[in-house]
């Protein structure tokens, strides 16, 4: 039996998901490819967003893929780390901003 849930080799097999549902698989990959094309945002900016989101959703496949993608694009490690801090700040902020809800509740219930 496989000893871990994640195997780096599985990333390369991503495309195979279409084998069990070709129509939806194809639609998804077409959409995916289109999303990352240069538009109002550059491909480089999109790659950094993807890297930050990958860390937010903690997907090891995506972290692997978008770290490599960033290096190929000449994105520096300083830029990558800054993008991660944006993700971390939003994540941390999202917890802390709910503190207002807690404070509201305490203020209402507490004498």
């Amino acid at each position: 039996m496989q000893k871990t849930y994640y195997d780096p080799a599985d990333l390369k097999k991503f495309g195979k998901i279409s084998e069990w549902n070709e129509e939806l698989g194809k639609k998804f990959f077409d959409y995916y490819a289109k999303v990352f094309e240069e538009g109002a945002l550059s491909e480089r900016e999109k790659s950094l967003i993807a890297l930050a989101v990958a860390h937010t959703i903690q997907c090891p496949y995506c972290i692997d893929a978008y770290t490599g993608d960033g290096l190929q694009r000449g994105i520096t490690k300083e830029e990558m780390m800054e993008a991660l801090h944006v993700a971390a700040a939003i994540r941390g902020g999202a917890s802390l901003v709910h503190g207002v809800q807690m404070m509201n509740k305490v203020n209402k219930l507490d004498m």
Binding site: K12, S42, E43, R44, G68, L71, Q72, R73, G74, T76
Partner: protein, 351 residues
């Protein structure tokens, strides 16, 4: 940081036979990855054949002022192999009669050959359409005697092609050595000041980008855009084109791949990115490489692996364009570096 060539360190990998063994064993022997010959046979492209010669590339020697970590030449100040005047004279005979439209001088640092200027002087008289010198930029700043190189290049209408692994100091110095970035920037400013690299100028200045690690180059056009934007904004520097070149798994780059435990992953990445359309235009099909001692090779990489041309004309002294035409190219697994993604050659992408 590397400071000596593999040769000087007496590394196992200084031996080209050892490199070729590595490239044929392991994952290629076990069949986990297909050998290059099998791969190109899938699309009926085996054997690779030389077409009409367009580029004559001459290596003036392995001596260099730098010791870059990825160098496929294993060049450095400790390499003493440089072309003699006698061999240069033989090269000049060939330059006079070749049908090639491009002459490409490389090294090491070709400028360190004491007969470099004489040779450029003589070769430029022949009137070859495109006369390239691959200059590493820092050589211009390394010693007072090289300070006038930009003017020398200009007076001979030389097309300058220079390496620049990144537009930031950190990534550049890591690959090429401390201080390389600042010196390269200074050299580029000097070249710009006399007209090199300015839009519309006939004085061609192109940059070469190699990834600074075990990954493939991204899209050449977008990298060129990023390089141009950053160099212009940060340093007011301009250049014409960027050539994105894949690092081939030989010599010091192979040593790095093995030492950093990246060799297998890198070979997988190259094979996965294999592009049959790039095979048609790999540079050995229109280039011939001459070594410092006058021997002929299909490309600079084969020269370093000591894989001579498969032809009866083996040396510049018995050069014969007709004999060399249509020869079978000598290949091994390093060739996957030329066919990954958009393909890679000394002139950048090939598709």
């Amino acid at each position: 940081m590397v400071t000596k060539s593999l040769h000087k360190r007496e590394s196992d990998l200084a031996n080209s036979k050892r490199q070729l063994e590595i490239l044929s064993n392991g994952i290629f022997r076990s069949g986990d990855l297909p050998k290059f010959a099998h791969k190109i046979a899938e699309t009926n492209q085996f054997p690779l054949k030389a077409k009409k010669l367009e580029i004559l590339q001459i290596n003036l020697g392995y001596m260099c002022n730098q010791v870059c970590e990825h160098c496929h030449v294993d060049a450095g100040p400790d390499r003493k192999e440089i072309m003699t005047k006698e061999t240069m004279l033989q090269c000049l005979d060939v330059i006079k009669k070749t049908g090639a439209h491009t002459l490409d001088l490389t090294g090491g640092a070709p400028e360190m050959n004491p007969n470099f200027r004489w040779f450029v002087d003589e070769a430029s008289k022949v009137g070859i359409k495109d006369f390239i010198v691959r200059s590493n930029l820092t050589i211009i700043k390394s010693n007072k005697k090289f300070a006038d190189l930009p003017e020398f290049f200009k007076s001979h209408n030389v097309h300058v092609v220079s390496s620049m692994p990144h537009w930031t100091k950190g990534k550049t110095d890591k690959q090429r050595g401390t201080g390389v970035f600042d010196q390269s920037i200074e050299a580029l400013k000097e070249l710009n000041a006399i007209g090199y690299g300015i839009p519309g100028s006939n004085l061609r200045l192109d940059l070469v980008y190699n990834p600074s690690g075990a990954f493939l180059p991204g899209n050449q056009t977008s990298l060129e855009k990023d390089f141009k934007k950053s160099l212009l904004e940060d340093f007011n520097i301009q250049f014409h084109n960027l050539f994105a070149i894949t690092n081939l798994p030989i010599s010091r780059f192979l040593d790095y791949l093995i030492a950093s435990d990246n060799y297998e992953d890198y070979m997988y990445a190259l094979v996965e990115a294999y592009n049959p359309a790039a095979v048609k235009n790999v540079m050995c099909t229109n280039t011939l490489s001459v070594s410092w001692n006058g021997f002929l090779y299909d490309c600079d990489f084969n020269q370093m692996l000591e894989l001579p041309v498969n032809s009866n004309a083996k040396h510049i002294s018995d050069y014969n364009e007709e004999l060399l035409y249509n020869r079978d190219i000598v290949i091994s697994q390093h060739c996957y570096g030329c066919t990954a993604g958009a393909g890679s050659s000394c002139q950048g992408s090939v598709t």
